[in-house]
């Protein structure tokens, strides 16, 4: 009896000690004199390779693995191990929320700023003002710094930017007799709205059915919130400012209704792919690469990745070029995703310090910042160095005057995104009229912004 009791007690003690060991939170372990610090860095897919996607074995985390290696080699205070993890963009909020609520957020997160602003509002991010030195302030334009500031603090260290445009298949244009609308190879072509409608109609009517079977003029999507910035841009096509000066959505006006009516009109006329309510941006992207769409959304990284896929034979090769989203006024609509790293708050001060030092290292290192050429560099010095190799950099620069701030840096932006696509689904299925779509979207969106602003730490 006593023996049984002893065995059971020992087993219980063992179980408890194993559990307690698992809960220990000591960030540093001693090895070779310096302590070892392990931090986690997450990123969503951006570019492949360290500096270039043509490198052997190039993958989305190649840059961070190399940056971690270089950082660890030169870091004097600790031996640093950086665990990098690539996560899908559409799973970002789920993963972050689960880990934040469980007390295990990553130390570093590299992503487009617009998707991460809510975490700054919620008080989950470390301000990074102490990392910004004068040299970087001068090298990166003020407009970019404004993009990464929430309240008075910088929360993201800007690395690159991805301007959003259209991509079009110039060969399909030629096949439909639309030669006059094709821009130069490195031009971001601007069409008027009337020209754009002509293009869509001619593509529908004159695209050779044998060569391009099952193909449509333009890609539209509303399955989820992915690439919804283009949908937001369409809502501005008739001059709607989207946000007022207080950060409230004001899409419910004549211009907003006109824009939604236009979207529904081109959809009903078969000038887009069918089934937009069940089609995601990933679907239209795949269709564009398979030449089933003549015009589709793109940003600078998607554009370079698509070109790389064509070069490597992963996707059919065709003449792909860029164009702006047209508007009624004639001025094109464009926006940019500033990408950069943020540091999540942690109870472990050492990890926070190392994470901040790591962010500063790869965001300022002269060699590593060259990787920003895979999108569009935010640093003037990198643009100057690569503009001869990448003539599109100058085109993007010329386009910059048309950029609009699509998030308004408002609190609750991520949740506001979740109420747009159900409304667009209702629009495309005919369940709601355009006027009701903008009315309901404005009402639901503003309620979210109001609640999130009340909870925000940024006043």
């Amino acid at each position: 009896m006593k023996k049984h009791f002893l065995v059971l007690m020992t087993a219980c003690m063992l179980l408890i000690s194993v559990a307690l060991a698992g809960c220990s939170n000591d960030s540093t372990e001693k090895s070779s004199g310096k302590g070892t610090v392990e931090i986690t860095a997450w990123l969503t897919p951006q570019w492949k390779g360290v500096i270039d996607s043509s490198e052997e074995g190039a993958d989305y985390d190649s840059f961070f693995k190399q940056a971690a290696k270089d950082f660890s080699a030169q870091y004097k205070e600790y031996d640093v191990k950086v665990n990098t993890q690539v996560i899908a963009g559409d799973q970002r909020d789920e993963l972050l929320n689960v880990n934040l609520n469980g007390g295990t957020p990553p130390n570093v997160f590299f992503e487009s700023v617009f998707a991460m602003g809510d975490y700054a509002h919620r008080g989950a991010l470390e301000p990074l003002d102490d990392l910004v030195d004068d040299a970087s302030k001068e090298d990166i334009p003020e407009s970019i710094w404004e993009n990464v500031k929430f309240g008075d603090n910088v929360y993201f260290y800007p690395f690159s930017q991805n301007p959003g445009t259209f991509a079009y298949n110039a060969e399909m244009f030629k096949a439909a007799g639309l030669d006059e609308y094709i821009g130069e190879e490195n031009e971001i072509k601007t069409w008027t709205l009337a020209e754009y409608e002509t293009i869509l109609k001619k593509l529908k009517a004159d695209l050779p059915k044998k060569k391009y079977s099952n193909a449509y003029p333009m890609g539209v999507f509303a399955l989820n919130n992915q690439a919804d910035t283009w949908n937001l841009a369409y809502l501005r096509m008739f001059g709607n400012p989207f946000f007022d000066e207080k950060g409230k959505i004001v899409v419910n006006d004549q211009a907003g209704i006109k824009a939604t009516t236009w979207l529904k009109k081109i959809y009903d006329e078969g000038l887009t792919n069918p089934g937009a309510e069940s089609v995601s941006s990933n679907d239209t992207n795949a269709m564009f690469q398979n030449q089933q769409l003549a015009i589709n959304f793109t940003n600078s990284v998607l554009y370079s990745n698509a070109k790389a896929d064509m070069e490597s034979g992963k996707a059919p090769k065709f003449d792909m070029r860029l164009a702006n989203i047209p508007s009624e006024s004639g001025d094109p609509l464009t926006f940019t995703y500033v990408t950069g790293a943020s540091v999540f708050k942690s109870d472990d001060e050492i990890k926070t310090k190392v994470a901040k030092d790591f962010v500063k290292f790869f965001s300022t290192d002269k060699e590593l910042v060259k990787a920003s050429k895979n999108a569009v560099p935010v640093r003037t010095s990198v643009v100057e160095e690569f503009k001869s190799e990448h003539p599109l950099f100058e085109s993007y620069e010329a386009n910059a005057k048309y950029i609009f701030n699509f998030t308004g840096n408002v609190a609750g932006y991520n949740q506001v995104r979740q109420v747009l696509y159900p409304e667009l689904q209702a629009l495309y299925t005919g369940e709601k009229k355009p006027a009701d779509v903008v009315k309901d979207y404005q009402k639901n969106g503003n309620k979210i912004i109001e609640d999130a602003t009340a909870d925000s730490i940024i006043k």
């Binding site: 792919n273 089934g275 795949a286 495309y428």
Partner: protein, 288 residues
Amino acid sequence: MRTDRVRENITGYLFILPQLLLFLIFIVYPVFEGIRLSLFKISYTGETFVGFTNYMTLIKDPVFVKSTMNTVIFVIFIVALTVFFALFVASAIFDKNAKYVSLIRGSYYIPVMVSMVVMTMVWSFLLNPSNGLIPHLAREMDMSSINLLGNKNTVLPVIIFITFAINVGQAIILYIASMIGVPKDLFEAAEMDGASRTTVIFKILVPLVKPTTTYIIIMNIIAVLKIFVVIQLLTGGGPNNSSSTMMYYLYNNAFKYNQLGIASAVGVIMFLITIILSIPQLRAMFKN
């Protein structure tokens, strides 16, 4: 006397202690924590007690009402289809050649063995309105563009069919096993009395497999209440929340919108529904 009894049974208690501890930590504690959280507004910086506000918000939210209605529809139709179809297939083949029974059983069970995610992806490829096989064939046959997942009138029947097709194998296996266990002399007696096959099925088979039917109904109700993967991967709750379910609504609030209080309130409501629906089965168990 009492101390002696406790001492006598202490080894038994100690043996169940690890399981009891795990049960308390991983089942009982989360349930109570969920109930507690449903009464709070939770943000990154802290928790505020709000009483039943989260429940009131839910009742007023048309998306939650729609999700609840959809869940009820799914439960009724998927469970009914599963039970009737499984009963039909099992009663048709249970007394046939063993190899034939194995073939049919295996054929229906394959989708159960394949991951739900994979099965849903296959259906997604088939039904994608822009480049899926079914809409493509419809266009080839000069039918207008069809989008079964984008039409609020067809999206529920499609999801019901897909979920039923993936799950029905389990019920067929259980029914066949149960029917094979029915004493043969009952069938022989019925044959002697000149009973038709229909009479045998409805008067002998169905009443004798009633415990299996109860089990299949309860298990399927609980499984369908938690329906999520098909919705997440196939429709994302669309079009315009037409196919949203309680579990999908809970997931969105918990992980996308970070409204943990609201999500916990949905969890509590689902927990209560499951408890209520399980009472008949629990009663039957205790009776036995």
